[in-house]
């Protein structure tokens, strides 16, 4: 034990400067996700990739050795929808609706960067003005490697995030990034564009909400009409551009439209859907737009009709880990919620289990929960509501990798894949489990000290230190 500690210490000191050529974690339990778990085995990491994994893998002579006795190795967790690294971003908002989680730490951007362009846009008078649209924005271009949230979320075992610009109706294209800190942002990027983030509320825009003075669109049906018009325009734009490219003579050149360019570049769209009604609406909408879609939110996915619709619709689903909480009310308040609202608050954490049972492709996402302790508790709540640990791990590793089309390089512990690993003492997502180390691109990190204020079990981050 003493020897291990010494080895670790030495290793840590080294890791700050540069990752070693190779690392071998031996005698550890390995949850590969893609195959059966290995009760006692070795993972070899070299040049940022997994060189070998198995129960009978020799430790290379040049490798630093981590004695994995009593440790479990999981693939690095993937946060399927995040805003980590995006300057000035609010935590990815769920699909509207009531009862935002209490556990959400407010977004605290490290750098005051220029606000997204759309924030100061003039009043829009119709779809032609491309309101609340920055579809061309690429998260990969916006990422700031210095964002301190990178370290915070990584401490929960999250090695990879699909991070998105989230302001606006067409907010922009998300990127899949590895959470290495302090490096050049370009080094973090796995896939520069994984999809277009669409939101149906105008939160964060001039006027906001109901749209008083905020211009078009000011209603949900206005937003939907706008999105529909954009896709009609994009199809027409493509048609005219192709015709022009074919033979420009005698033809007026098509006017360059960056909003449409951004939409055409996007491989898939992320649509918000929390309630059953919204899930139904968005599935139909995605089919109408003929766009591969991912629905995010999924609060009412616990309802059998919802899981059935999702299965039938074939869409992928991102379930928010920010479970609905009762609204803050005074003790003598006589406000009551409807039976449906109460039921949703009670059953929302059962959504992942329901989706699993129905055979729907789903992943979990942090929805702005940055603190490792809150993240771990949120996942635990899904476990308490019927999701197996195995399925929870999959929903945070291989499933999001499949949803974003990167399962060939990420999401499981397999030879040749990117060396993103979480090493825990105890089973992941358990109350007492400690994340011992995290490997991102083969670089080893130790979790930061929990920034949650001490206050015993149940303390939430929105009131650190209590009311003293």
């Amino acid at each position: 034990m003493k020897k291990l500690a010494a080895a670790l210490l030495l290793f840590c000191a080294y890791a700050v400067a540069e990752a070693p050529q190779a690392v071998a974690i031996r005698n550890a339990r390995i949850v590969t996700v893609s195959g059966p778990a290995i009760a006692k085995g070795t993972v070899v990491v070299r040049n940022g990739l997994i060189e070998a994994v198995g129960d009978n893998v020799p430790v290379p002579a040049d490798a630093w050795v981590v004695d994995g006795e009593g440790l479990t190795v999981y693939p690095g967790l993937i946060d399927a929808l995040s805003t980590v690294g995006i300057p000035g971003a609010a935590p990815a908002a769920a699909a509207g609706g009531r009862g935002a989680g209490r556990g959400a730490a407010p977004a605290t951007p490290t750098v005051t960067a220029p606000a997204p362009a759309a924030q100061t846009e003039p009043r829009a008078w119709g779809p032609e003005d491309r309101p609340a649209t920055t579809s061309w924005l690429l998260a990969a271009d916006e990422i700031q490697a210095t964002d301190h949230r990178i370290e915070t979320v990584r401490s929960a075992g999250v090695t990879t995030a699909a991070t998105f610009p989230t302001r606006g109706i067409f907010a922009g294209q998300g990127s899949l990034v590895d959470l290495i800190s302090g490096e050049k942002a370009g080094e973090m990027v796995l896939v520069p564009s994984v999809g277009q983030y669409i939101s149906l509320s105008r939160g964060g825009f001039g006027g906001g909400g109901g749209g008083g003075g905020g211009g078009f669109p000011s209603s949900l049906m206005g937003t939907i009409a706008y999105i529909r018009q954009i896709y009609l325009d994009a199809a027409h734009y493509q048609l005219v551009k192709d015709a022009y490219a074919h033979d420009p003579r005698g033809m007026r050149r098509p006017e360059y439209d960056r909003a449409l360019e951004g939409v055409l570049e996007s491989k898939r769209i992320l649509l918000p859907a929390n309630r059953l009604v919204e899930i139904d609406r968005m599935l139909r909408f995605a089919a109408e737009l003929k766009q591969p879609a991912i629905l995010y939110g999924a609060r009412e996915a616990y309802r059998p009709e919802a899981a059935e619709l999702l299965k039938k619709g074939g869409a992928s689903v991102l379930v928010s880990l920010k479970w609905p909480e009762p609204p803050a009310r005074t003790a003598d308040s006589e406000d009551t919620d409807t039976l449906r609202t109460l039921e949703t608050r009670d059953k929302a954490p059962a959504a992942p289990a329901a989706l699993q049972k129905a055979g729907v492709k789903f992943a979990l996402y942090s929805d702005g929960i940055d603190q490792p302790r809150d993240f771990q508790r949120a996942v635990k709540k899904a476990l308490d509501n019927g999701l197996s640990r195995e399925d929870a791990v999959r929903a945070l590793t291989l499933s999001p990798a499949e949803i974003y089309g990167v399962a060939d390089r990420l999401g499981s512990i397999e030879k040749g894949k990117i060396a993103n690993l979480v090493v825990t003492r105890g089973e992941i997502f358990d109350d007492r489990t400690k994340v011992e180390m995290i490997f991102v691109d083969g670089r080893k990190y130790t979790p930061a000290a929990d920034t949650t204020a001490p206050g015993g079990r149940g303390q939430t981050t929105d009131n650190p230190g209590g009311n003293r």
């Binding site: 119709g126 779809p127 006027g207 669109p217 009762p326 409807t338 109460l342």
Partner: protein, 447 residues
């Protein structure tokens, strides 16, 4: 456990039987007088009505002894069952938006309307702009999904609005329709509204010409690039082609005449004037155009343009040949349109049947769905309401409501099911309270 769950499902599902006979009731058919007898419902349609009917084998019998049966009530002006705002008020022409996109089948107002005997409602966009959004009639099929609400095959509509509402959003100092400060929006006057509508149809005509030309070229075997599809103009093109009904919010006689002139100039029809509180002043002109009038029974003076109203409006318009309906424009009023209808017997001396028609057959005609609903006739949809008392009375209570031959509201079941629902709710409240207490940080003594 499984069996219990299954039982619960059966209890929740609306009672749907292939054949139902409602017998011993007073049947107010609206179109064919009132008879004491039975209604036979087969496969969602009315099969037979009369004093004596052939009793089909295996029919479910509903005994309506001492009770009244009327056609399902139709509300020609409602704003329920829509998510995320009823107005796209940012622009003066918002015909690109469609209520169809935001239907919310879980709006409790649907169930409450059902409990008030309403089976069909025209869900309209708000009146914030001269040309509002696209609209459509729905049936109150509580429990179905959004698509399941839509009145299949009905001609869709579009909302227009005249007068104070669409122009006040244009006042730079003023407040918008939702009480929010709006950036100045043209128009700020009634003449501006006239101009806005005309400009929109100028655009729509040019747009239509563009598409007509494209189609002509395609028909000749050419391969032109199609014009850009513009959702705003697409809806107005449908109005010009008679494929979309115009439902125009209005109050004053002068603005009603203004819109009739615009419609004549551009060659389209106004299907209904909504509110139309001064309709009695220009009833002849409305009738000549072939437009309907959908008004309130006795509600006025809530704003200047509503000062000149009289409770005889509905009766007078009808006398001049206008098809008149009474609407709610409100989720609460919607629940007692039967007694609203009763008021035209006092104000205007209309008969019981004429009064009842104003919330059944007349709105069906206005919405172009009278071949399907609005009266109790063989072949029509079995949308029926059973009242315990004379249905135009304030004291009448809805007992059962059928839509397409399916019972969607049953007063006995509703009342008897309340305790269980309340208990379920209380259980969840208690559970939540317990969880909250458990989550609270433990206080040390003395703190």
């Amino acid at each position: 456990m499984r069996r219990i769950l299954l039982g619960a499902l059966v209890a929740l599902a609306p009672l749907s039987a292939a054949t139902i006979v409602i017998q011993n009731g007073t049947i107010m058919t609206v179109s064919k007088g009132t008879v004491k007898g039975s209604v036979v419902v087969k496969d969602g349609k009315i099969a037979e009505v009369g004093e004596k009917v052939m009793m089909p084998q295996g029919a479910t019998v509903i005994d309506a002894a001492g009770q009244y049966v009327i056609p399902g009530i139709i509300d020609c002006h409602s704003h329920i069952a829509a998510d995320g705002g009823i107005n796209e008020g940012s622009v003066s022409v918002s015909s690109m938006v469609d209520i169809r996109d935001v239907l919310n089948p879980e709006d409790i107002a649907i169930y409450r309307a059902l409990a008030g005997g309403v089976t069909t409602a025209n869900i309209l966009h708000g009146s914030a702009n001269a040309i509002g959004g696209c609209t459509l009639p729905i049936k109150m099929r509580w429990g179905k999904d959004a698509q399941g609400l839509i009145f299949e095959g009905a001609t869709p509509g579009i909302k227009f609005a005249l007068g104070e509402n669409p122009k006040r959003a244009g006042n730079p100092q003023g407040r918008g329709i939702n009480g929010q400060v709006q950036v100045a929006r043209y128009p700020a006057t009634r003449m501006g509204i006239d101009d806005t509508i005309r400009e929109a149809f100028n655009e729509a005509k040019a747009y239509k010409a563009e598409w007509d030309e494209y189609q002509a070229k395609t028909a000749r075997g050419e391969h032109p690039i199609p014009p850009r599809k513009d959702l705003k103009l697409e809806a107005l093109k449908e109005v010009l082609e008679g494929k979309r009904y115009v439902h125009a919010h209005c109050y004053r006689a002068d603005e009603i005449l203004m819109l009739l002139r615009v419609a004549d100039d551009y060659g389209f029809k106004i299907r209904t004037f909504q509110h139309v509180l001064e309709g009695y002043k220009v009833a002849k002109e409305i009738a000549a155009h072939g437009a309907g009038g959908s008004t309130f029974s006795d509600w006025w003076s809530y704003k200047v343009e509503a000062f000149d109203a009289i409770p005889y409006n509905a009766a007078i318009m009808q006398k001049y040949g206008v098809v008149v309906s009474l609407n709610s424009d409100d989720a609460e009023l919607m629940r007692h349109l039967n007694s609203e209808a009763g008021k035209v017997m006092k104000y205007g001396g209309l008969s019981e049947t004429e009064a009842l028609a104003m919330v059944t057959l007349n709105p069906a005609k206005q919405l172009g769905i009278d071949n399907r609903v609005g009266s109790i006739e063989p072949g029509k949809d079995a949308d029926l309401v059973i009242y315990d008392k004379f249905p135009l009375s304030d004291y009448a209570k809805v007992q059962k409501v059928l839509i397409d031959g399916t019972v969607y509201f049953d007063r006995d079941k509703e009342v008897s099911g309340r305790a269980a629902k309340q208990a379920e709710k209380q259980k969840l409240i208690d559970k939540e309270k317990q969880n909250q207490q458990r989550q609270q940080p433990t206080r040390r003594p003395g703190q």
